[in-house]
Point group: D2
Amino acid sequence: MIKRKIINDPVYDGFLSIDDPVILQVVEHPYFQRQRRIKQLGLTYLVYPGAMHTRFSHMLGALNLMGRALDVLRQKGVAITDEECRGAKLAILLHDIGHGPFSHTSERVLVDVPHEEITLLMMQRINDEMHGALDSAIEIFADRYPKHFLHQLVSSQLDMDRLDYLGRDSYFTGVSEGIVGTDRIISMLNVHDDELVVDEKGIYSVEKFIISRRLMYWQVYMHKTVIAADQLLLSILRRARELDPSVFHLDPHAADFLDRFAEIDDDDIMVAVKHWQHSDDEVLRTLCSNLVNRHLPAIRISNVPFENVESDYFHGTGELHNRSYDFNDQEIKVLYKDGRCVDISEASDQLDRHFLEKQVTKYYMYYPKI
Amino acid sequence: MIKRKIINDPVYDGFLSIDDPVILQVVEHPYFQRQRRIKQLGLTYLVYPGAMHTRFSHMLGALNLMGRALDVLRQKGVAITDEECRGAKLAILLHDIGHGPFSHTSERVLVDVPHEEITLLMMQRINDEMHGALDSAIEIFADRYPKHFLHQLVSSQLDMDRLDYLGRDSYFTGVSEGIVGTDRIISMLNVHDDELVVDEKGIYSVEKFIISRRLMYWQVYMHKTVIAADQLLLSILRRARELDPSVFHLDPHAADFLDRFAEIDDDDIMVAVKHWQHSDDEVLRTLCSNLVNRHLPAIRISNVPFENVESDYFHGTGELHNRSYDFNDQEIKVLYKDGRCVDISEASDQLDRHFLEKQVTKYYMYYPKI
Amino acid sequence: MIKRKIINDPVYDGFLSIDDPVILQVVEHPYFQRQRRIKQLGLTYLVYPGAMHTRFSHMLGALNLMGRALDVLRQKGVAITDEECRGAKLAILLHDIGHGPFSHTSERVLVDVPHEEITLLMMQRINDEMHGALDSAIEIFADRYPKHFLHQLVSSQLDMDRLDYLGRDSYFTGVSEGIVGTDRIISMLNVHDDELVVDEKGIYSVEKFIISRRLMYWQVYMHKTVIAADQLLLSILRRARELDPSVFHLDPHAADFLDRFAEIDDDDIMVAVKHWQHSDDEVLRTLCSNLVNRHLPAIRISNVPFENVESDYFHGTGELHNRSYDFNDQEIKVLYKDGRCVDISEASDQLDRHFLEKQVTKYYMYYPKI
Amino acid sequence: MIKRKIINDPVYDGFLSIDDPVILQVVEHPYFQRQRRIKQLGLTYLVYPGAMHTRFSHMLGALNLMGRALDVLRQKGVAITDEECRGAKLAILLHDIGHGPFSHTSERVLVDVPHEEITLLMMQRINDEMHGALDSAIEIFADRYPKHFLHQLVSSQLDMDRLDYLGRDSYFTGVSEGIVGTDRIISMLNVHDDELVVDEKGIYSVEKFIISRRLMYWQVYMHKTVIAADQLLLSILRRARELDPSVFHLDPHAADFLDRFAEIDDDDIMVAVKHWQHSDDEVLRTLCSNLVNRHLPAIRISNVPFENVESDYFHGTGELHNRSYDFNDQEIKVLYKDGRCVDISEASDQLDRHFLEKQVTKYYMYYPKI
């Protein structure tokens, strides 16, 4: 008889369950529990107040989808051993573990190590503590495992990461654009020549997935007010560092780097910002009070670059771009009943190359609200 | 032409809107924005990871329901002036503004002023700043306003507070028990002899509401693991205070009490707890590490009290009780088409007095997990 | 590689899938396809316009839940062979196949054979055609199979039939009372001493299930306007038979009884009713026009019987009763971690024997609307 | 005090309400009640078993959306009188009243009058009976009313008809593609120079709406198996007429044409088909048995026309086409804050003219399944 742990999750009809003791042990690790204190979407909650959900819940959600996907592939006759199942599950469970607080914003400022690298370091540390139980997981994560499609389930145009976060971000923001029919897409997955593909019947679902992602991109991930808030936090961190270089400073070469990194989360940043409202420095004081009380910069979006704009702690410019589907990245392949395997841009009547390749670039300028 | 502000909210089909400039001004007040940093359900997220939603979103949600309820009552011919509408809306918007971080847990320890009192103080402060714009709201909130039913919309067995939090907590925990058919209940509201009542057709909806509340009570609000986590936080705060009485200390008689109180939120507590993991005191250190890494106490529930149990920072007992419907509190009255007005316990075939009055008391004991 | 047939179903996130060729063959049988033309809730659509869903979709939904339940039980170590799985699935798939059109209404009038008997006849007929493939299914359905819990999955207080219809009827009527957390209940199922039981953690879910059923009973299944419509249809069928005894007459002893029975569905009844609007008989004409144009009788409900009421085609009385939970029927047992197994009425704090045993009887009287 | 009638509808959180006595009277008219017996999506239920919903529920749903849209426009300062509100509501309520059974299929065969014409005839008949109460409604429906935007709410690229049916068809089929954020779109409606437009903030919602419609088109409305079923029904009706020209024959010039037309609904067609299973004509017999038991033709879809295909009752070809957005039709205009008003194809970064104008044509061939 297997011990099952049930974890409540509103996105998947109330709950998901874990029955692998190794996976349960990883979930209980402090590095993993720490992700309970890091929001999946950073400051997005200033625009979508419901978006308080954490990386912790996303990583468990992605694990849940991985379990379903592996079941589907096995039912279709794809050979996957139990050890490989565990490896793929651990790889997706930990794929984001190296993220720091507000990482898309703070990464460049606080710690000069990309989160992918920290993820790998943390995986290795846990692997050491667990005597190699994550060996396969790390191989799969780093795309060194022979069965390439296992890596694609973790990281590709149609991986379990994206499937979970689109659905989850949609649930917590209330933006219905992200509802992508996850179950249906997963039921259409297949493997062909060691590549993750989609059965012919899944074309419409994939089309919807690509379009949903693009709509979510502009409506949530690149929402202009979120960009404005991010810029404000960035200015705060830069100014605070300028005034005191030791602020949130971590030495990547220190022996205790990982543990110290793991102690910093969203709460620390916000408490510091509140604290700095009483700083002697007027610039820092004003910036912090603006963030705490949600007096965000004004922001304008344009299809052409802004010119001759002053740049300081209160003003600046930047650019945003998105492409639905990245041809330099891995393609989504469709498997026909007759055995042909073609790219979605050819298989789809809706999404031709013109649409998919189209790169949208927008320019923004922010400045104090009067 | 009226300026409408749209606020995204997944609970109400994506968004709610505000078009009263006075209400918008209150929403932008720092005391209100601060509630973005206080979770509605405290440590419940340790059991329901999705339950990160804030008091901020709840208070806006309750405002939204108040608007619908007032519309329904006016359509049914109940006389409510525009000024009274605004007053009732502001009263519900601000009904929880005095809550501190993890207030059900910390209230007894950190600040010795009940949150209802702080709420009133904050309302008065905002009212002063806004030159009396909240006069009616305060009268309605304090039940001093002539039209008693307006107060009942803010605080009674069937108020907009409960209707929003049941639905909202249900959405974010994923426990479907709290889905109560809010729209239908609101559409059945009426006023009879200055009392808020429910039209005859709404009996089933009210039955469901009462039962849902009871189920949510045991399944979420009094979940035993949440109780265990609360006890752990309580022990931490007590121990920290013992070691250093100035910790989070506020003087309710100080001139800047409100502003200082307003600066403390969930983030501060959690950052302190993380910090105390490195305390010299072993008890505090252990307790804090346990909370940060979610090593919660074991807890046992029983229908009879536990006896001869030691009580220290790691062990203790307590009791829980709930009654579906409080007869000492205001009753829910049902208005029949023929003009009769009777209590729900008489009107309902399902919920007789026996069921409604039944007081359930449970006893718990917590102790370190081995 | 297994062939999977996907069947679209809005109740289960869009679709369910079947991969057993024997089950697929049964689904394609004319007796089964016929259930596409029989509404699950008869005339209820006159009150809940969305309630057009068919017995066909319910029977497939119940099959889907059976698959999940069997998976859960096997994961918990309950021994169930593949043959038994198929048997239990076929038994639930066919459990309602003998229903005729508007069967709760018409059964007494049109065909004097209870639908359970016709179900068994049809199962045997299909079994003959399929050379005994339904042997186990029939044993399980008739409760003659050694493993009694398999029958309980098909028919008991907590069977897959009820779980599907509560959720489905809730979805199509829009009455949220029927949402019962099906996945959670199924995940809590277990077997103890050859009896289907519920794990300790599932107590709240079972409480909710029992209460939901009771609320759905009064709000949907016994909705007074539906009762009025049923009485109208009953009067029509009685009057039509009186005028012409051959109307919809079937001889249960005729060799082609089953095939002729299988040809009559909701459409035939409604077309006849429309046709009879032009009857020479004024009573029949009026009754039929009333049903077609939804001029339903007025109906009054009371807790005491109506006395001295005339009874004819336009007037009548009757009674309704419901008890949440039938002690003469099988009990729902809760299995504690320590091995104890007690009835839900003892295990639950909310639902004591008083509540569960309470028999609610109501009396109704219908008469022409003026 | 206004009398409100509540109509249950799962699509709109359980119910919608009507409080205009004139509208209630129209809903009770036999021509309107008849739409309870005509499915919104014809034979689509053979592919999506939940799609049993009726034109009755769609027309009420569209009425509900019209009420919300008019409220939004009035709040934004658009001048609309109470009489115009009622007119627009009645126009949308009745916009589909002339549809016959399986009308997209049968229209060409059974009655040689387009459904739009019958709709107008029925509206005029009801108007006569109600002494001119529908005068404005008819003007608005026929686009002869001075305020053109009222007609656009009834019939345009972004009318209440489409908004309701996309959401409703999505709900009952379970295909999530049709969920279009109806509330949000409606809240973004505005009027500029007597044209219905969308506020700038609504661009993403409109993009999603256009894309959803296109996806629903291929996934539901033009689903190949539905096309196959439609062809089968068409062959049946053609063959039956050939054998007996009086079958379902109506003379559009007869005085009682409308009443006789109103008596034919889905049930009549299906009962006839069942009856014809026993026809002397082998072709008709086979075709009918195939439909009743869901032995549908095989169908192949191609991007190029099929050539040299025989055409008889069992074989045939045809073509399907769809364009997301019809430039010959009315455009969707976006209103910017600065007063500019441009077409969505210019305003959108996602949907350029290339995408929107793209006409997709597919060819199909059907033939008996072996």
